[in-house]
């Protein structure tokens, strides 16, 4: 039975002609995009649920476990116009060995940089398990010709990126041109080759959870390995509630196909407490199988410092001073 069909898109067990649910589930290109519907999401209730999971009280061993897991899931990110090889090398060093005092901590999952800085990262990370993610597809707006965007992707992969973080065309999404969004993702997936594809929805520009849900379904159907909330250039970026909505799409896809898609909240996750909150949401929505860097990442720059401070506090029993921890 199709999950989508029973969500109101058509009679149970059959694919209504306008329903793309089953097609999306199978990963094919939906036939009639303009009428594509997906299950509604109630803002108040989903935010209430996400907030309720912030009430989980994590102490001692469970806190340490969660924080170390969070570090292993971090895509340490720098995406500034002023990024230099020096800055990126520092970031890579931090990703390989995040803690000076505790060698059991780390490494991070990846560093995330612009394509031109991928070669620098490649060198800096040689011999380490840390992956290199690169934003591509005319990040952050995505408003360039598809050929340009695909070339961007191919170059990043050639430079040595293991993972491509693409942006969807939000204008097309909001205009209802779902076919365009789908086709661009599918083409990007192809251009990425062996690299993993993370699809950034830029949820802050989509505004409603209904559209976020729809965009998530499209991205997954078009071949995303991960879906990702934000570029970090738009507010709001990642929120617990939008992450929950996207995780629910991942769950429904798993129900329907058995295929596990990854999730990456990015932007706005700055504190250890927030990180634990996200992990609780993952644990209680998708279960144990998603508590791995293979299926969950944090896109963050400032988060690592706070997590390290909290870990040190747990280790020593003393509250830490921020200046004792390196910023980059």
């Amino acid at each position: 039975m199709s999950t989508h069909a029973t969500n109101g898109n058509g009679p149970a067990g059959t694919a209504a002609p306008y329903s793309v649910g089953p097609s999306l589930g199978g990963g094919g290109r939906p036939a009639l995009f303009p009428l594509f519907t997906s299950p509604p999401v109630d803002q108040v209730a989903v935010e209430e649920r996400a907030a309720s999971l912030a009430k989980r009280s994590l102490k001692k061993a469970s806190k340490v476990w969660g924080l170390k897991l969070a570090i292993s899931m971090m895509d340490l990110t720098t995406l500034e116009g002023k990024d230099t090889p020096g800055k990126v090398r520092g970031l890579c060093q931090k990703a390989r060995a995040p803690s000076d005092s505790d060698p059991s901590i780390g490494p991070c999952a990846a560093v995330c940089v612009y394509p031109n800085l991928v070669p620098t990262a490649r060198l800096a990370l040689a011999g380490s398990p840390v992956k290199i993610a690169s934003v591509a597809t005319a990040f952050p707006s995505g408003l360039s010709p598809l050929t340009v965007k695909l070339d961007d992707v191919r170059r990043a992969v050639e430079f040595g990126a293991d993972e491509i973080d693409m942006v969807i065309d939000r204008g097309a999404m909001l205009a209802g041109d779902y076919a365009k969004v789908f086709d661009e993702i599918a083409a990007t997936k192809e251009a990425s080759g062996a690299a993993h594809l993370k699809v950034i929805l830029e949820t802050g520009e989509l505004q409603t959870y209904d559209i976020v849900r729809k965009a998530s379904e499209l991205a997954i159907a078009a071949g995303a390995d991960f879906i990702k909330t934000s570029t970090g250039k738009v507010q709001p970026a990642a929120t617990p509630a939008v992450t929950l909505v996207m995780l629910e799409v991942i769950r429904d896809h798993y129900y329907a196909t058995g295929r596990k898609i990854g999730m990456k909240p990015a932007g706005g996750v700055r504190t250890a407490k927030q990180a634990l909150h996200y992990l609780v949401i993952v644990k209680e929505t998708l279960g144990d199988a998603w508590l791995t860097p293979d299926l969950f990442r944090f896109g963050a720059s400032a988060l690592l410092t706070d997590v390290l401070m909290q870990l040190e506090k747990e280790r020593t029993g003393l509250y830490q001073a921020a200046d004792d921890f390196s910023k980059d």
């Binding site: 109630d42 803002q43 108040v44 209730a45 935010e47 505004q207 409603t208 959870y209 209904d210």
Partner: protein, 322 residues
């Protein structure tokens, strides 16, 4: 006041005049055709299923065709049962009408009552009222119906609320009718008591099963004739005649009857129906019949409080979000 007196005189005069004409055509007195009094259920005039009756004596008036002693149906348990079925079906449709429509229908009842005031006054006089007293009672009954007619589409404005809850929800409360309400009308004043008890019940969208005054059931039946010729849909007001001591416990025990308004002299009977009503958690209000001072009074005999007795409050919540 002047107008009213004239109306009374005309009404009596014409009836009297008919008698004179009858006498003029033959030497023998003509026997008037008297009315068979029936209960009013589902818009139809019916006898009691019991086949029994009780007798009411009154002054024999020249203006009336009735003999001094008349038979009135003695309503039974099964009459209550049948009336509840009818009242239940009627209530849902009555409540589904717009408040504006209900208001017009109730106002129409006032029009009909005023038009038939001669008949009503005669009936009251027959049961012992003075002509002046009867006229005053009919006046007040008509005005009371007008009062409630205009209330139909005000109730929600007064009883509803928008509730400023602490959270991202729109919450509001609205009044709703309870359903079928039993009414034990006060023995006196027979017309105004009946009107004062029934009108607030139906104004709120309920239907009523009324046990008429046993002292003067004939006036209640004349009132039913007004109902029958008004636009009040059949089944919205159902009037049984008989003894409150027989019928009140039946209404109190019936699980489909949501509420009970009882004006009874008998304190023991009031207590016993309150007890009976508890088995179905009925909303029950009992009281001794009001004094004339109170029931004729615009403050004491009518008002929103009487309507609210048989309204539920329903609170509805919904999130406000995208």
């Amino acid at each position: 006041m002047t107008t009213r007196k004239e109306t009374v005189e005309v009404a009596n005069g014409s009836a009297h005049g008919a008698g004179v004409i009858a006498k003029a055509t033959t030497d023998e007195a003509r026997l008037r055709v008297s009315k068979t009094y029936k209960m009013y259920v589902g818009g139809a005039f019916i006898r009691s299923e019991s086949g029994r009756s009780f007798q009411v004596k009154g002054s024999s008036l020249e203006s009336s065709a009735d003999p001094a002693t008349v038979n009135i149906p003695l309503g039974s348990r099964k009459d209550v049962r049948d009336a509840v079925i009818v009242a239940k079906a009627a209530q849902e449709k009555w409540a589904a009408r717009t408040a504006y429509n209900r208001g017009q229908i109730v106002y129409r009842l006032a029009e009909v009552l005023d038009a038939r005031r001669g008949e009503l006054e005669a009936s009251l006089v027959r049961a012992g009222a003075t002509a002046t007293g009867a006229a005053r009672e009919v006046d007040c009954a008509v005005d009371r119906i007008v009062f409630y007619a205009g209330f139909c589409d005000k109730i929600a404005s007064l009883a509803a609320s928008s509730n400023p809850v602490s959270g991202p929800h729109f919450a509001f409360s609205v009044p709703e009718p309870m359903g079928v309400i039993g009414v034990l009308a006060p023995p006196r004043p027979a017309l105004l008591g009946l009107v004062s008890a029934v009108l607030p019940v139906i104004t709120g969208g309920n239907s009523a099963i009324v046990v008429a005054s046993a002292d003067d059931p004939r006036t209640a039946i004349v009132f039913c004739e007004c109902l029958a010729t008004s636009d009040v849909p059949g089944g919205v007001v159902n009037v049984l005649t008989g003894l409150a001591s027989d019928l009140a416990p039946q209404l109190a025990k019936h699980r489909e009857v949501a509420g009970l308004d009882a004006y009874l002299d008998d304190a023991a009977l009031r207590a016993s129906i309150e007890r009976d009503a508890s088995e179905s958690v009925k909303r029950v209000k009992t009281q001794a019949p009001f004094t004339d001072d109170r029931i004729f009074d615009e403050r004491g005999g009518q008002g929103l409080t009487f309507i609210e007795r048989f309204l539920e409050t329903k609170s509805i919540w919904h999130p406000v979000g995208l």
